[in-house]
């Protein structure tokens, strides 16, 4: 693709009122989805979205405007609007542009043209396969709803520091939900997989994995109950439990909240915040991972950033604004939903590294508590540090053993307290490749989370009293 207009003129207009920095983000996105309902692939769609966003920084202030038009005059108008955040006048001297290339082939290379967007026939074939797998796995299955979506987003970026890059960002997702009926009882659950990859990632094996997980998760619910609620130990199962990190500490480490003094972790840099066997990273470099980025949305190369190393808070997650404020280099976390939004510090793939226990040892230490391994959504209050996540299903732990299945419980805790009360971490790190999407300031970004099994001494478990 490449920027098709005179970007120097646009940057000059953006800097005309004395801005310190400006960038141009051009995006062209094609998104397709196809849905199976009642064992029939009977709806599909294709969506094109493109435009240009212009950002101007003046100190900590941001001016932002975008246009969907490809007309140069409209792009210039957006630049002049964004320039409105500054209020003096200045001339802009263009600097030579240096095109950045991703490391190697990048973290999500496409193998050929066929890998870019799947044919509709192929997607239909996989949806029917998924439907067959789910229905043939359990006679209680009543309904299946399944969807495959794939997209290609092409990004071109240039800024007043001469940084320039082009990136092709694929995304492939498979989501299946099923409804089961047993007598008069009805239960439903879902499963998903999502990768920053082209259609080549879609295989019979992947479809089987999604179908099996969807069936087993739903079937389990017929034996599950809402437990008695209250404070108790919680063993977070490997994988999706990474939502604990995302909500309990990840958002609080995003540097914009700390720059504003609004995070409960604002004064904790360099200090011990948890036990020394705990290290937490936010990683943009995992091949084909939903959170991978070759470059973030302000031209900084993706990297693996340790937020917590051996129990010490070592880094926030920075965009260019917060990095400048703290006098550190940006960590490649400046991300945005699309050209319609300015970048903010956002997570990528957030996970805890392995500990030394086994999961069995962690469970054995609990007299009465909950084991949680299937989650839907979470939320956090940055200042108070209070976070929650919703457990779709799990098990009670009684006298060191998993007993009755439990379901539909909200778990709530306080970030620093929860982190400090992680008393054991297993050696079974697993990334959850579901369709995790993080929301912040009305922007959604694809992310990933992961965790080895871990024992949290005390959290508040929602239940019936």
């Amino acid at each position: 693709m490449g920027i098709q207009f005179d970007y120097d003129k646009v940057l000059a207009a953006a800097m005309s009122t004395g801005g310190d920095y400006a960038d141009i983000f051009v995006e062209h996105s094609t998104f397709s989805d196809i849905t199976l309902r009642d064992s029939s692939v009977n709806s599909a769609g294709n969506h094109i979205d493109c435009g240009t966003g212009i950002r101007v920084l003046k100190g900590d202030r941001t001016g932002y405007a975008y246009t969907e038009s490809m007309e140069f005059s409209d792009i210039m108008r957006a630049a002049r609007v964004a320039a409105g955040i500054a209020d003096s006048s200045a001339s802009y001297n263009p600097v030579p542009v240096c095109v950045s290339e991703p490391k190697g082939w990048g973290y999500y290379p496409l193998s050929d043209a066929g890998d870019r967007m799947l044919s509709i026939e192929r997607k239909m074939q996989y949806l029917y396969m998924l439907d067959d797998f789910v229905f043939s796995s359990d006679e209680k299955v009543d309904k299946v709803l399944a969807r495959i979506s794939d997209s290609i987003t092409e990004v071109d970026f240039v800024n007043t520091q001469g940084c320039c890059f082009h990136d092709v960002r694929p995304m492939l997702s498979v989501v299946s939900s099923c409804v089961m009926r047993k007598g008069s009882r009805v239960e439903s659950n879902s499963s998903s997989r999502s990768f920053r990859a082209g259609g080549g990632m879609l295989t019979e094996g992947l479809i089987r994995e999604v179908a099996d997980e969807c069936v087993s998760r739903t079937s389990l619910l017929f034996d599950a109950v809402q437990p008695k609620g209250g404070e108790m130990p919680v063993v977070m199962g490997a994988g999706g439990s990474g939502i604990l990190l995302h909500e309990a500490i990840g958002h609080a480490f995003e540097a914009d909240f700390n720059r504003k003094g609004a995070s409960i972790f604002s004064d904790k840099m360099g200090k011990r915040i948890c036990r020394d066997f705990i290290s937490v990273a936010d990683d943009a470099t995992i091949m084909f991972n939903r959170g991978a980025v070759n470059f973030d949305d302000e031209g900084v190369p993706g990297e693996k950033t340790y937020m917590v190393k051996n129990g010490i808070l070592t880094s926030y997650l920075h965009d260019r604004i917060s990095a400048k404020f703290y006098g550190v280099r940006p960590t490649g976390n400046g991300r945005r939903e699309s050209f319609r939004f300015m970048p903010l510090p956002r997570m990528r793939a957030t996970y805890m590294e392995n500990g030394k226990c086994s999961e069995e040892e962690l469970i054995r230490d609990v007299k009465y508590g909950v084991y949680a391994d299937n989650f839907s959504n979470g939320q956090v209050q940055i200042g108070a540090g209070d976070f929650t996540f919703y457990v779709k299903s799990g098990y009670l732990i009684e006298n060191g053993k998993l007993t009755s299945p439990v379901k539909d419980i909200n778990i709530i805790g306080n970030g620093p307290a929860a982190l400090a009360s992680i008393v054991g971490v297993a050696d079974n790190l697993k990334l959850d490749n579901g369709t995790w999407t993080c929301g912040k300031e009305q922007q959604s970004c694809p992310v990933c989370c992961g965790m080895p099994s871990a024992l949290v001494e005390k959290l508040t478990v929602g239940g019936v009293n």
Partner: protein, 448 residues
């Protein structure tokens, strides 16, 4: 872009779809202008402005259906996009239930339609300086005025949204709405490292009616009220839910009343039409013609004329939300694609149940938990089992005793609504849903 030109583009898109093999098409063109300006403390932080347009194209070809969208609206490009979209639609499986609505159901502009009063014609004439001042004044209400204040941010937002929808069966409809809002977020120094935060918000469809003062003060008051919050003993308490968050209790009902969920047997209200599921004093109504309300509308997303609906009448499930597609699937009459302006019908409500405010509810209840915010949680749409994180205050003898946090409210939606104790009349008219403060007896809270 002029409205006539938009109509011309939409008509051309429909003609193009039909010329390329579609049996029918519905096209919606939407266009919006937005601006936001925010301050942190006493300083400007962000200025954001945009104009955008897009076209949503629904195609019906050989009893097959596809939905497409693009924001690239130039002639040749749109034609190619539509041509490819028709081809793609024809590859799908047949679904004879997919077609445009019966034309008798359409909204028809006979010249006597009510004016919903949703558009402020002064939108383009409001000076940017006045908008910036609104944000700054809100922050200045509290910036530097309380030593416990750690952070304050205020934002002004406005938007002008226009949509024109047409289909190949002759439906034509348009709507235009303006919306203005001012919000404030702040955090304060709490116990230890905690920085309790809160927010306040005002909105209106008309700039001169937008309340512009007191928003910062309210946000600060709410944040200060959270200092020292703790969890209390688990148990059953009367729950009084503040109006500004009470729609959280109604949303699961709306999801369960939706035709898509019913058709998938994924609703705890499946098979309950005409059944008394809720208490006698609960009547939930949909009033789409409420003036100056964002959710009000003359027709739904398929052109079906809206009407007043008694969704739940004296505890009986009286109407589901059924689109033409799910009407054919479920063999039920078409109603609407979703709620417009939801309200509780207070007419004839016993004075023992209808209350003016949450304060009156707390006095009547004696003791309990006053919920002012939700923190995460979810509801199982199949069973109605739910678990929500909550914050608020514990009260006794009608008086607030202490702030609470890190607690969960759990149970089952049907059981909870059957313990409905009080319904308030303190809803915000500027919201799409007019949900007042609500109170439930014997609600299950988990804490210590």
């Amino acid at each position: 872009m002029m409205v006539d030109n938009i109509k011309h583009i939409v008509d051309n898109a429909i003609a193009c779809a039909l010329a390329n093999g579609a049996d029918h098409a519905r096209v919606t063109y939407s266009k919006s202008t937005q601006m936001s300006f925010s301050v942190i403390g006493k300083d400007p932080d962000r200025l954001n402005m945009s104009d955008e347009s897009s076209m949503y194209i629904q195609l019906f070809a050989d009893s097959r259906y596809g939905a497409f969208s693009t924001n690239q609206l130039e002639g040749r490009e749109v034609e190619d996009f539509i041509k490819d979209s028709v081809k793609m639609t024809r590859l799908l499986a047949e679904d004879k239930d997919r077609c445009l609505p019966d034309t008798n159901l359409y909204f028809k502009d006979d010249g006597n339609c009510p004016d919903l009063c949703q558009y402020d014609s002064s939108f383009d004439n409001i000076p940017v300086s006045e908008k910036k001042k609104a944000a700054l004044d809100t922050a200045l209400e509290i910036a530097g005025k309380d030593s416990r204040l750690v952070y304050v941010s205020a934002e002004y937002d406005d938007s002008d949204y226009y949509a024109y929808m047409a289909d190949s069966n002759g439906f034509r409809g348009e709507s235009r709405q303006t919306l203005y809002s001012i919000s404030c977020e702040c955090s304060v120094k709490g116990d230890g490292d905690a920085r309790p935060e809160s927010w306040s918000y005002e909105s209106d469809m008309f700039f001169d009616k937008l309340r512009k003062d007191g928003i910062g003060v309210d946000a600060l008051k709410r944040a200060l009220g959270k200092i020292g919050a703790r969890k209390i003993n688990s148990g059953k308490y009367t729950a009084v839910i503040e109006s500004r968050v009470a729609s959280r209790m109604v949303s699961p009902l709306v999801s369960a009343l939706n035709g898509a969920a019913l058709q998938q047997h994924n609703s705890f209200l499946d098979g309950k039409l005409g059944v008394k599921v809720f208490p006698e004093h609960m009547s939930l109504v949909d009033r789409p013609f409420e003036k100056s309300t964002p959710g009000a509308r003359l027709f739904d997303g398929e052109g079906v004329a809206t009407r007043n609906m008694d969704i739940i009448k004296n505890g009986v499930v009286n109407e589901y939300y059924i689109t033409p597609y799910f009407s054919r699937k479920l063999k039920m009459p078409v109603t609407a694609d979703g709620p417009s302006v939801l309200e509780f019908d207070m007419a004839g409500l016993d004075a023992a149940i209808g209350k003016d405010s949450y304060e009156e509810m707390m006095r009547a209840a004696g003791s309990g938990i006053f919920v002012t915010g939700f923190n995460g949680g979810n509801c199982n749409q199949s069973t109605g089992d739910f678990s929500f994180g909550v914050e608020g205050f514990y009260f006794e003898d009608g008086n607030i005793l202490c702030p609470i946090k890190e607690m969960n409210l759990s149970g089952n939606m049907i059981s909870l609504w059957n313990s409905l104790l009080f319904i308030g009349s303190d809803f915000r008219k500027q919201n799409s849903w007019h949900i007042p403060s609500l109170a439930f007896s014997g609600a299950s809270f988990s804490g210590v």
